[in-house]
């Protein structure tokens, strides 16, 4: 409580000093968008040369430059990756907010041009730590696999680990996969993967921008311990109707967009038509994947209705169906159904207000048929209401506050270990208030101080009020160098039942933390530097330490029905990440190195986590060859994943017939005796993927052809070894793929 009082006092002091800056000045606000489609441009930069002040647009496309000396005319340079910089003349009135809609023209098929102005102001006016922003155009440049995938794109970032080519599932800074929050337009997606986790359900063509936080995320995000991926989707072309069709070896896609009265719409649908290529992913086992996804969004803005208001309705629906003809092989299906409605109010003041209602449902079902597999069903129903506002003071400081109310029901129906059907149903409501103060008034120091207050918790085994303080700080002794730091407390009350010993998990049900365990809580500590010696060179070095308490894991020693499904342990991870982005003429390089350590402690024993990767190097090269030709290459190297060695076999008795006198003497099978968990290391992993792209215009359409090769030099990376006999199974071999996209 003393902490909270101090925080309020601090806020009061800062708020009272904001008025100092409010004399003889005005505020400049801009909405930056694409000149052709009207799509907002996120993290575009705006710069007023005369007063050496700038800002960048937020995820809604707005920038605000406060305290601009009033009654003068200025030239604002607005720039964005791949767009021509625009210079506009603006006038700022005293004590008023001057708003401008600014549209930028794309540079056509020459994709890779990074404007310099914006980067500098992003560097100077940002408190966010451990965040990576990926715009729609950058997604196009990422190496493509079988399908372009937003989840695959983040795997090239330092601190993000995967355990195989087969899964897009990712682990961030030693956290479990279920500790990653995925938000699409602010709505949680519980299982964002198709085809047993091969790639994501989110169509990259509908993504406007993506923010990926690897830790230290601010008070507006919560509910997960390790990372946040916040995806904003496109609004759709506001000026003309368009259609884009594309196809890979596996799926076909159609996207439609266009204007509607006072708004626009976009709808995209994807459907699989062949899964032959997937056999390469599953050790030549045929997996009859059949999937679809539909994403849609429409928006409405009318000065006649509510001036300054923008309403959006968005939805995403995906389904996967693995249906086997053989009655002795089980079927599996899962789906996501997501809907959201959002009201953004932008009044004639530097204030933004948002109110949103959303629903997210995940359903997964394993239908055992006559296979002997245990039938299972999981349903998550999530209804949320969210309200938040942010206000920009004349001092440039910002306050962001709001609350989230969430009602979640999880249902897990399955046969327990001895065949009795059980249904574990849990319902909880959480009410969370958050507030943060973003201090941007000083040139040398930016700070983001906030708190998240869990007034009502989902879990019944939780304190009445749980506080999650958050702090991000950036100190810039010079114009091109910054010291960064972040610390925070994070709570998670919903988790998947994940068997860590499954290298491919088909069924990972979500459940609210049961009453017998406390919600898991993490503490993040991050320090580092950012160095921008030139406009074509950017480097960050970050070190982190993360400690997780009440880390739930599946109880491997569960024998009795009455034994708990979860036991809790502790997890700890720390490491150093170096990330560099540089540009040399026609080559753009992203290079990173991660040195990480990840442990879990269970029953007093400390183990390496299965995704503990000691060294990881990622190299991403993009060659802009001109005339629409582009070559992307990515090379990943990481040291071996932990595994457990075989120390022997014994002939285990499997009792088939309790009525046959000597039956148990015969019905035996070799059983593998394993050594200490995760004590040894698999061989190192490395792989080179290459994508060749060509963009060209036909009279009626714009065409993009992509040809990719996964694992160019056919490296035999080990995926796992079979427990029953030690035989190794490798990851993806040399695999050529191609996609075609036609935009009308």
């Amino acid at each position: 409580m003393r902490y909270f009082s101090s925080l309020l006092l601090l806020l009061t002091i800062f708020l009272s000093t904001n008025s100092v800056y409010s004399q003889e000045t005005g505020t400049l606000r801009g909405l930056v968008s694409d000149s052709l489609s009207g799509e907002v441009l996120v993290y575009a930069s705006a710069y007023i040369k005369e007063i050496n002040k700038g800002a960048h647009t937020d995820t809604r496309g707005y920038f605000i430059i406060p305290s601009v000396p009033a009654n003068k005319t200025y030239t604002v340079a607005v720039s964005y990756v791949g767009y021509q910089t625009k210079f506009i003349t603006v006038e700022v009135d005293n004590n008023k907010l001057s708003h401008y809609n600014i549209s930028l023209s794309a540079k056509g098929i020459q994709m890779q041009t990074i404007e310099k102005v914006g980067d500098r102001y992003e560097f100077q006016n940002d408190t966010k730590v451990s965040v990576q922003r990926i715009a729609a155009r950058e997604l196009e440049l990422m190496p493509k696999g079988v399908e372009t995938d937003v989840f695959r794109s983040i795997q090239y970032l330092p601190g993000v680990q995967t355990t195989g080519d087969v899964s897009a599932k990712y682990y961030v800074r030693g956290g479990a996969a279920n500790q990653n929050l995925v938000l699409v337009d602010g709505v949680t997606v519980y299982n964002p993967f198709h085809a047993l986790g091969l790639f994501g359900v989110i169509d990259p063509d509908i993504v406007n921008n993506l923010e990926f936080y690897k830790g230290g995320f601010a008070a507006e995000f919560g509910g997960r311990l390790s990372s946040v991926m916040s995806i904003s989707t496109k609004d759709g072309d506001k000026n003309k109707f368009g259609a884009t069709a594309s196809s890979s070896f596996m799926a076909a896609k159609l996207l439609l967009e266009g204007p509607i009265p006072n708004g626009s719409f976009i709808i995209s649908g994807r459907k699989s038509f062949s899964n032959k290529i997937l056999d390469n992913f599953f050790d030549e086992n045929h997996v009859p994947v059949d999937f679809y996804d539909v994403s849609m969004k429409t928006n409405f803005t009318s000065p006649d209705f509510i001036p300054g208001a923008k309403f959006t309705v968005s939805g995403m629906f995906s389904g996967d169906n693995l249906k086997q003809d053989n009655p002795r092989v089980e079927d599996y299906k899962w789906s996501n159904n997501i809907m959201g409605i959002r009201w953004l109010q932008v009044p004639d003041s530097p204030l933004f207000f948002e109110l949103a209602f959303s629903t997210s449902q995940f359903k997964g079902e394993l239908i055992s048929k006559q296979s002997g597999a245990t039938p299972k069903k999981n349903i998550v129903d999530d209804f949320s209401m969210e309200m938040n506002f942010n206000y920009v003071f004349d001092s440039k400081d910002e306050v962001v506050s709001g609350f989230h109310i969430r009602d979640i029901t999880t249902t897990l129906a399955m046969n327990n270990a001895v065949g009795v059907p059980v249904e574990i149903k849990a319902n909880g409501t959480s009410v969370v208030f958050f507030s943060k103060y973003k201090m941007l008034r000083f040139d040398e120091v930016d700070m983001d101080l906030g708190v998240r207050i869990n007034a009502v918790n989902l879990s019944r085994n939780s304190s009445v009020v749980v506080m999650e303080p958050r702090l991000n700080i950036k100190i810039r002794p010079t114009d091109n160098f910054a010291l960064i730091g972040a610390a925070g407390v994070y709570q998670q009350e919903i988790s998947t039942v994940t068997n860590e010993y499954e290298v491919i998990n088909i069924f990972e049900p979500w459940v609210i933390s049961p009453e017998y365990i406390k919600p898991q809580v993490a503490a993040h500590y991050i320090t580092g530097i950012e160095f921008v010696p030139s406009e074509d060179f950017f480097i960050t070095v970050e070190s982190y330490y993360k400690k997780i308490d009440n880390f739930p894991v599946v109880n491997q020693k569960k024998i009795l029905v009455t034994d708990p499904d979860f036991v809790t342990g502790e997890a700890e991870s720390y490491g150093v990440e170096i990330f560099n982005k540089s540009k040399l003429e026609f080559i753009t390089l992203m290079a990173s190195y991660t040195n990480a350590y990840t442990y879990k402690t269970l029953g007093g024993l400390r183990y390496y986590n299965k995704y503990d990767i000691r060294h990881q190097v990622n190299l991403n090269l993009d060659f802009d060859l001109g005339n629409g030709w582009n070559v992307g290459a990515s090379w990943i190297f990481h040291s071996g994943l932990p595994y457990t060695k075989i120390i022997g076999y014994y002939d285990k008795m499997y009792i088939d017939d309790y009525f046959y006198q000597n039956s148990y003497a015969d019905f035996r099978q070799p059983y593998t005796i394993l050594g200490i968990d995760n004590l040894h290391r698999l061989p190192e992993y490395h792989k080179l993927d290459i994508t060749l792209s060509k963009k060209f215009d036909l009279s009626f359409a714009k065409v993009t052809l992509d040809a990719s090769i996964i694992n160019v030099y056919n490296r035999k990376n080990i995926f796992y070894f079979k427990r029953e006999n030690g035989e190794r199974v490798n990851m993806l071999p040399f695999l050529p793929t191609a996609t075609i996209k036609v935009k009308l």
Binding site: I646, Y649, Y650, F659
Partner: protein, 324 residues
């Protein structure tokens, strides 16, 4: 353009040079010898066997290829019924069933003089030649289980019901039950007119035109039912290919239920996890009640309920009703 292509090729070549090494991988560590003892005491027999083996290692990814005799010779293996009755087991060789993938000798310890008593603490001990001792104990509670035909069905079939089965009650917590249903019949002029038994599958299914039979698995449920299609299929199959149906006497249908003791129930639970095709599991739960090693020691109690067939029903199948 040439400059650009040269730069691309140079970088790719450099990566190739760095990357073109293959990997040797050995998942095997030094063999650490462990011992395994298994014994399931049969309640209605005085012939009991104990298997006593050591672990082994292969390096060719095929544990079935091991022909090493893992039997532990020269051990002193003893069974106690309470504190008084003790028997020492002898070793012998058993013949394996056909189709067994093993190709190695199979020896066990046995006794012909041990019948487990209920309500006693039964102990098993093996003293190995290397001085290592493996021990275990079990206790069979003397609580007769009450077993009845499902839906009070004394005669099969019962009008309006498409199944038959049994229901039972017990006080043992977390108990696992093994079930079996058989039909007793005889054929005049064959098998010396002796009574024959045929097992009824839990259910049948047609896969690619042929019938697949699924036999019951142990369960935690306190009832068990068999679909009429499986019973009727089994009844028809006993005279399949034999035109002289009237020479068949069908006596009864017996539902047998074995209640496994705590050790066997836990062991069954740990070894019977249903797996699906897609999940790849690199470890599984192991359970042992053998101190100092792996394996299980347990016993069970067997109960049964008899159901007779409706005479008219048998007549329609061409059979006669018999009394046994």
């Amino acid at each position: 353009m040439r400059k650009k292509l040269f730069a691309i090729l140079s970088i790719i070549a450099a990566v190739f040079t760095l990357s073109c090494s293959d990997t040797n991988f050995n998942p095997y560590d030094t063999h650490q010898e462990k011992f395994v003892m298994n014994c399931i005491l049969h309640p209605d027999s005085s012939f009991q066997i104990v298997t006593l083996n050591r672990s082994y290692m292969v390096n060719n990814f095929d544990p079935f290829s091991s022909t090493e005799d893992t039997f532990v010779k020269g051990a002193l293996v003893r069974l106690w019924n309470g504190n008084n009755e003790v028997v020492v087991l002898r070793d012998t060789t058993l013949t394996r069933t056909s189709g067994d993938p093993y190709n190695k000798p199979h020896r066990v310890y046995y006794t012909k003089n041990f019948k487990p008593k209920t309500a006693t603490n039964i102990l098993l001990e093996a003293l190995l030649p290397n001085g290592k001792r493996l021990t275990s104990s079990t206790y069979m509670v003397k609580q007769p289980m009450n077993i009845e035909p499902l839906d009070s069905m004394r005669f099969y079939p019962k009008e309006g019901l498409g199944y038959a089965g049994a229901v039972w009650t017990t006080d043992q917590r977390n108990a696992v039950f093994a079930t079996k249903a058989t039909i007793l019949y005889s054929r005049q002029g064959m098998y010396g007119d002796k009574v024959q038994r045929v097992s009824i599958p839990a259910y049948i299914n047609k896969v690619n035109g042929s019938v697949v039979k699924y036999y019951p698995q142990p369960t935690n449920l306190n009832y068990w039912q068999i679909d009429s299609s499986a019973i009727n299929y089994t009844l028809r199959s006993i005279s399949e290919g034999d035109p002289a149906k009237d020479k068949y006497l069908v006596y009864s249908m017996i539902f047998e239920v074995s209640i496994l003791d705590n050790n066997l129930s836990l062991y069954y639970n740990a070894t019977s996890r249903g797996k699906d095709l897609y999940s790849v599991v690199i470890d599984e739960t192991d359970y042992s009640c053998i101190n100092g090693g792996f394996g299980v020691f347990g016993t069970y109690a067997k109960y049964s309920v008899v159901m007779t067939f409706d005479q008219l029903f048998l007549y329609k199948l061409g059979y006669k009703s018999g009394t046994y």
